[in-house]
Symmetry: C2
Subunit: 372 residues, 2 copies
DNA sequence: TTGTATGCGTTATCAG
DNA sequence: CTGATAACGCATACAA
């Protein structure tokens, strides 16, 4: 309860000046005797540096902000999980902003950099508008953008390449002998939808398959939408033998419908998703999925920001993280009762299998009640 | 790049004293003319308050920390997702600490409260040790613990009740006519393992079933472990007709093994999990699971902390959040081809179905490369 | 080596 | 109503 001790308290106790206290605390050359006295006093009083005063003086908060639409989104979560340890190792705390996908909120975050409560910002905006760019140009602290920014924007930038990602999957399906590969894409007016659609056409051309509009179906990026879309597609084209889905949720919806229709996966129809979320490994059959490298994008973004925080000025840098195909049972299945359960995660360090642990020691014995 | 303007800059520009500037900025009674001049100057200069200086003076940072083992864990994530908006609405920023389940790190976080970079802390420790309690007693800011603390610890505390949770599930299974209900529990030396084991015995007794040691199997809280354990159990007791699993991952492992063994779920064997993670809805058949109310625990914790931040002193409070059974196909199945896909989430506001959206506009057209 | 004094950007007190 | 001025807790240039 009592107000914490300051260097003044210590100085008094040790019988020295606050300057000496500060010097000892910062490891500057000081007489042994003084060091001893100061350390003793600090120990006894349980002194802890005041970070706020420190920041005011040093103009560094040792805090970095990460702003994204929604922590619940597996893609952002993957970024967060990589960003956190990188920053921590470098001595930075992490301030989390959830913008709920509201552009105005994102701009607020950019503006708030003027308050100087963080040294830098990593931001993954839904869509970069002109307003973003304006505010960005006037930002009072270094910013790294994860996502798509216009060519030439003077900002550190880390991006995915889902176009190539789609191509990886199509190549895979084609190599397995599939020839009627449909695409269940997201809305075409979204950035990812457009890119994935383009990737689909490119990939078909590359493997020498014709582009057939009949094989394209649009769905919002959710599971029920995936069900609806795949049902329609199946009704129109019952001969389809592979489904490229624009994300894992749509792919789960596809599995639902195929199961109900009595089509075996992957024997009759192979299914591939995108994003490689936890759900891909949990479903049955487990889902082949294209990882867009969210985790790595997070890590790279953090490293870029640290570089700029330490190093100072340099040219803005742009990094594109390559996609990676994670093959599981929904395309590669070895018979529908195979034991390929733990179909791994390739090479990526800590896979998703590991962290879904448990409710961790939070327990209650009965009904202690909840009132005051 | 130029250093941001301060109230001094504005004062000079407006031809008034810094005191007047501060007053205007804080809405204190001031002559209209002065207000006008100050606002004009502030606007032109793009002035933004310096949060650090403000904090130093006011002794409030408007930041709150949340410390848990791992953001990747769905339980913590659910808490985070509730905590964030509550704090944001109250004008607080959220500082995130990942302790990697290392007790020493948790204690460091408690100690670091002395640095005064946050106004309060919400912490969900793996296990509360004596060292925790000591540090807690000396904490220099209000703390809310999510989890189990010893009786009488003078700290705001929010807890789950997995014992009752297990009972809900067993009651459900018994009501469905199952009579040989096995338990695949976590290690008994963990807090959750012990509580769930106790809940299992209690529940059996309550419904009048005998406790049979043969029906209990221990597994670590992971899917491969779940597979191993259930395989053993099945070999020993092929007559089992229901499985109560201590978490969702173990339950997924159970589904794997049952499928391979040709047992139908739920017709031959019903399966229930715990934690009600995203995975429960994604699996097939979808998994009946006991929610321990992680989301609500998070929300309550945030509210308790805010109360204390605003209100000041009061008696420490303890809240127990009741568990909730979420019934899905793995116990209630309406035939194995039923359309009960979207089996809902009960009542809990925003269900998990909604947020697993997509890779959000992060795209790249090709190979811009990753070099400098 | 040590102490004194000043400033970081605000807010708040107290005369004018 | 306004303007000097003193904190807030720390770091540091400068003087001793």
């Amino acid at each position: 309860m009592a107000d914490g001790p300051t260097i003044n308290t210590i100085a008094a106790r040790a019988g020295v000046s606050i300057a000496s206290v500060s010097r000892v605390l910062n490891g500057l050359p000081t007489r042994q005797e003084t060091v001893r006295k100061v350390m003793a006093a600090a120990d006894e009083l349980g002194y802890v540096r005041n970070a706020v005063a420190r920041s005011l003086k040093s103009r560094r908060t040792h805090q970095v902000a990460f702003a994204m639409a929604d922590v619940g989104n597996p893609a952002y979560l993957a970024m967060l999980r990589e960003i956190q340890p990188v920053l921590k190792a470098a001595g930075y705390r992490l301030v989390l902003h959830s913008t709920d996908a509201v552009a105005a909120d994102e701009i607020d975050v950019l503006r708030s950099l003027g308050e100087r409560y963080v040294d830098g910002l990593i931001m993954s905006p839904l869509r970069v508008t002109d307003a973003h760019l304006e505010t960005l140009a006037a930002a009072r602290a270094p910013v790294v953008i994860i996502g798509q920014v216009p060519e030439g924007t003077p900002v550190d930038n880390v991006r995915a390449d889902s176009r190539t990602g789609v191509r990886l999957a199509i190549d895979h399906l084609h190599a397995l002998g599939r020839r009627r590969v449909a695409m269940v894409n997201g809305p075409l007016d979204t950035v990812p939808g457009a890119a994935r659609g383009a990737g689909y056409r490119e990939a078909l051309e590359a493997v020498g398959l014709p582009y057939d509009e009949d094989l394209v179906q649009i769905a919002d990026f959710y599971r029920p939408e995936g069900r609806r879309a795949v049902a329609e597609l199946l009704a129109r084209r019952p001969d389809v033998d592979a489904l490229m889905c624009a994300n894992d949720l749509i792919a789960l919806g596809a599995l639902d419908v195929l199961r109900d229709a009595g089509r075996r996966v992957p024997e009759d129809v192979a299914v591939a998703g995108m994003d490689d979320t936890d759900l891909a490994a949990a479903s049955w059959p487990s889902l082949t999925s294209v990882s867009l490298g969210s985790a790595e994008r997070g890590r790279v973004a953090a490293e870029l920001l640290l570089e700029r925080l330490n190093g100072g000025e340099r040219e803005p840098r742009r990094v594109t993280v390559p996609p990676r195909l994670v093959v599981r049972a929904s395309t590669a299945g070895e018979g529908h009762c195979g034991e390929g359960h733990g179909t791994g995660h390739g090479t990526e360090g800590h896979g998703t299998e590991g962290h879904g642990t448990e409710g961790h020691g939070t327990e209650g014995h009965g009904t202690e009640g909840s009132g005051a």
